[in-house]
């Protein structure tokens, strides 16, 4: 079962990431303990030379992790034809207990990696390595999550059994089920719409404000998280219904199927990128007062806010277009 190109690519990418982090961990400890930019000692100079190498390596593997979320979901959807009872990615992810934890870990890693990459980016733009200790400290915090994500993913793929009868999205995202997703699915369309457009409007507004005037950096991060949560709730509660033109089909994964022209990617890609960019704005904000970052952080943070603003706007526009094109009537005029 694991001899699928996508699975091999995902396992390899996770293994390389864990190995790169394991190889970097002793260096990260050394940087945290012994870094002293005022010293011209042989050890300090060696650390300075190697930090560039390690940062590049880690940036590369974390960017690969960002891309792997997409491949993971695409693969789960593609494999759904192999399992009895699976109609979409949900069926595949339900084949064993590791599917959804693996997906959730990957999503968490996606956002955390984006934040680390933003910190690494601004640090590498400054001439005096102002965040070197912080970024390697954060990397050590990220390492257990990365290892857990790789382990869960491996367990998921290694325990895929074709003879398992799995449950489809209908049971997981039905209004009667007792999960968080089911509760979001059960939201009434009108309040869900108000929540969706309100939160997305707030996220667009906050990020546009920061993009234009450089104000409210932390607000962008908070609004992005709210926007993301409201968008997922909106997809579960009403956007999916409009796409499928079915009043009880709440699945957020079927929208990625070829039958629906892969429309989900047009919705999720800008949403995930925008949320990651918004969170990154908040991640680099605390360092804006460091002398060597005074011009670097505001510039980077405004660029990230621009990405967030455009991303949220695009996601909202795509969702709205899906609703307007639909033949389903959910709200009475």
């Amino acid at each position: 079962m694991i001899f699928q190109p996508a699975i091999i690519a995902l396992l390899l990418s996770s293994a390389i990431c864990v190995l790169a982090l394991a190889a970097s961990a002793p260096f990260a400890f050394e940087v945290i303990r012994r870094w002293d930019i005022r010293s011209g000692s042989e050890r300090q100079l060696k650390l300075e030379r190697r930090t560039y190498l390690f940062s590049t390596l880690l940036a590369f593997v974390l960017v690969a992790q960002l891309a792997s979320v997409l491949l993971f979901v695409f693969n789960a959807e593609k494999m759904s034809g192999m399992f009895v009872g699976a109609m979409c990615a949900v069926g595949t992810l339900n084949v064993n207990p590791y599917g959804f934890p693996a997906l959730n870990a990957k999503i968490a890693l996606f956002f955390l990696a984006a934040m680390w990459l933003a910190i690494n980016h601004v640090d590498s733009r400054a001439r005096d390595y102002p965040l070197v200790r912080i970024k390697y400290g954060l990397l050590l915090l990220l390492a257990p999550l990365l290892a857990a994500s790789a382990w869960t993913e491996a367990q998921f793929f290694l325990n895929l059994k074709a003879d398992v009868i799995t449950s489809c999205c209908g049971s997981l995202f039905s209004e009667g089920s007792k999960t968080l997703a089911a509760e979001a699915s059960a939201l009434e369309p009108l309040p869900a719409m108000i929540l969706f457009y309100g939160a997305m409007g707030l996220a667009i507004g906050m990020s546009s404000l920061h993009w234009s005037f450089g104000r409210g950096g932390y607000g962008v991060a908070v609004a992005s998280v709210l926007g993301f949560a409201a968008a997922i709730a909106g997809i579960l509660s009403f956007i999916s219904l409009y796409i499928y033109e079915h009043p009880h089909h709440h699945c957020p994964f079927c929208v990625l199927k070829p039958e629906y022209d892969y429309q989900g990617y047009a919705l999720y890609l800008p949403l995930f990128v925008a949320t990651a960019a918004g969170l990154a704005v908040g991640a680099i904000r605390p360092f804006a007062r460091i002398a060597s970052l005074k011009s670097i952080v505001p510039n980077a943070s405004r660029r990230l806010a621009a990405i967030a603003s455009i991303g949220f706007l695009l996601a909202t526009a795509v969702a709205t277009a899906m609703i307007l094109r639909s033949n389903l009537v959910l709200l009475d005029h």
Partner: protein, 232 residues
């Protein structure tokens, strides 16, 4: 430091090893403390293997020290990532190498403007500047000649023009008269005098008395076995 003005280049506790940790480990520099004043001509003198060229490469950001710090106008540049060093090399230093390192097959003019291409300046402006430099060094008539057709003295003058194309504050020259006869060496010293007169900082290595005993040179630093042993 003179009157509170930082020196152009400061070297503090510099050591440089090659093949470190291997059986053929070699320490080319062994504890160099040196301040190079701005707008002055400084010559490093010493026998072969004394560490002169290694020191030049560290000052010019072509290599990094194993230990110690190199400061350019007070800023530590020895630990800077390569992205910043490229810009410093381009804007601050002009290099004249012992073997000139001109690119065969290209004309004198093309060789001169080559280091300025990454700056993105319009080609017309670069050509004007290169032609000005060639004219100043009496080489205008050889602008379209391929460099392999030029004599040693002409090649050196092309190398000097190339070093000056980005208008650097400092000129670094490694054994500039090693391949020149007395007449051409004197010609080089005259060019050097003109550049020093413009207020450029010049650092060169030489064991040629014609250079080190010249009035153009403000300071001679004597090196041996990777250490500074004397200066005048």
């Amino acid at each position: 430091m003179l009157d509170g003005v930082p020196d152009m280049i400061e070297l503090a506790g510099i050591r440089k090893a090659f093949n470190q940790g291997q059986h053929n480990e070699y320490w080319a520099l062994n504890g160099i403390d040196l301040a190079i004043e701005a707008n002055k001509v400084t010559a490093l003198r010493g026998p072969s293997g004394s560490g002169k060229t290694t020191l030049l490469t560290l000052v010019g950001c072509l290599a990094r020290p194993t230990e110690g710090r190199v400061r350019l106008k007070g800023e530590d540049i020895s630990g800077l990532p390569e992205r910043f060093l490229t810009e410093i090399r381009r804007r601050t230093f002009g290099f004249v190498f012992q073997q000139f390192n001109l690119i065969k097959g290209l004309t004198a003019l093309d060789n001169i403007i080559l280091p300025a291409y990454p700056t993105g300046e319009p080609r017309r402006e670069l050509l004007e500047r290169a032609e000005g430099l060639l004219a100043r060094l009496n080489l205008g008539h050889r602008r379209d000649a391929k460099v392999e057709w030029l004599s040693g003295g002409e090649q050196q003058r092309v190398a000097i023009c190339r070093a000056l194309i980005n208008d650097p504050e400092a000129l670094i020259a490694d054994e500039p008269t090693a391949n020149l006869d007395t007449h051409l060496a004197k010609e080089f010293m005259a060019i050097l005098e003109g550049l020093a007169g413009e207020g450029r900082t010049i650092l060169l290595t030489s064991h040629d008395p014609l250079v080190t005993e010249s009035d153009v040179v403000d300071r001679v630093v004597e090196m041996r076995d990777g250490m500074i042993v004397d200066e005048r």
